[in-house]
Symmetry: C2
Subunit: 161 residues, 2 copies
């Protein structure tokens, strides 16, 4: 049996130190908003397959903040940030991997309604240097991105979301 | 009588859409940290001379948030953001002028101890495009920056801080 799965388009911006991620989902914008703001739902899909995520704190509102850990033991990684704004079709938040606590990215997620129950996610991640941005692109991040979105697809198909 | 006052150095970064502001103060890093985190002190110096600031909410800790208004009537402007991290020599926060609510900058303030009771402030403001960055630089922001820092100098001289 062969399976095909949708790959996210991950691109380096040509003029600013930003990563763009584009991905379509068989979901409404409201479903994608829930997937990114409800901590129990978010923990079920984010990151590489089998890694899991434990929410430490999560307050998805303008001026709220969030933190979660993934993996365990020596492989545990922690991520944290604050929610600058949370709206029906746009989330702006900061993002730090605690292994590099001084590196802070500004992330924007937009949900574009394509009609017929489909939505295009456009996620941007703005870094303070091209070196930092290129370091993220070289880190193997596409595995976590694509595994996570495949898990999100599965939740949509099963009606969990 | 002539008075001279220190002008901040305000520079456009050459490679990323960032503004740099450099300014030395006759202050310790701890005094500059207080000036930027204590809401009552902050409201006394920030912005153009005579404008004043009213703090709406302010929680200067990792994951906290802030909002203040300046001016009054038709001239009132509101600003808001979240504190990503607040440390003894570094603050990272988001910044939005509510007149352009979709424009979010990522700001970093660092306090470099120069010894002898002097500290160099380096503030950076990272925008998501060069157009947005250049718009800020063309907005007359230097008036608020320099008036504010002059007021901060006066608070240091008078022992208020």
């Amino acid at each position: 049996m062969t399976t095909t799965r949708t790959q996210a388009r991950i691109e380096a911006d040509k003029t600013v130190p930003m990563i763009h991620i584009y991905r379509e989902f068989a979901a409404t914008p409201a479903q994608l908003l829930r997937a990114h703001t409800d901590p129990e739902l978010f923990a079920r899909w984010v990151g590489p397959a089998g890694m899991g995520a434990d929410i430490d704190y999560w307050d998805a509102r303008d001026g709220g903040s969030w933190r979660y850990t993934a993996g365990s033991g020596d492989g545990e990684a922690a991520f944290r940030g604050c929610f600058h704004s949370v709206g029906p079709d746009r989330i702006v938040q900061t993002f730090t991997w605690e292994g590099m606590p001084d590196a802070v990215a500004l992330e924007t997620l937009t949900f574009e309604d394509l009609g017929d129950g489909r939505t295009r996610l456009h996620a941007t991640s703005l870094c303070d240097s091209f070196e930092a941005r290129d370091g993220w692109l070289a880190s193997g991040m596409e595995t976590g991105v694509n595994d996570g979105y495949a898990a999100l697809d599965a939740m949509l198909e099963s009606g969990t979301l």
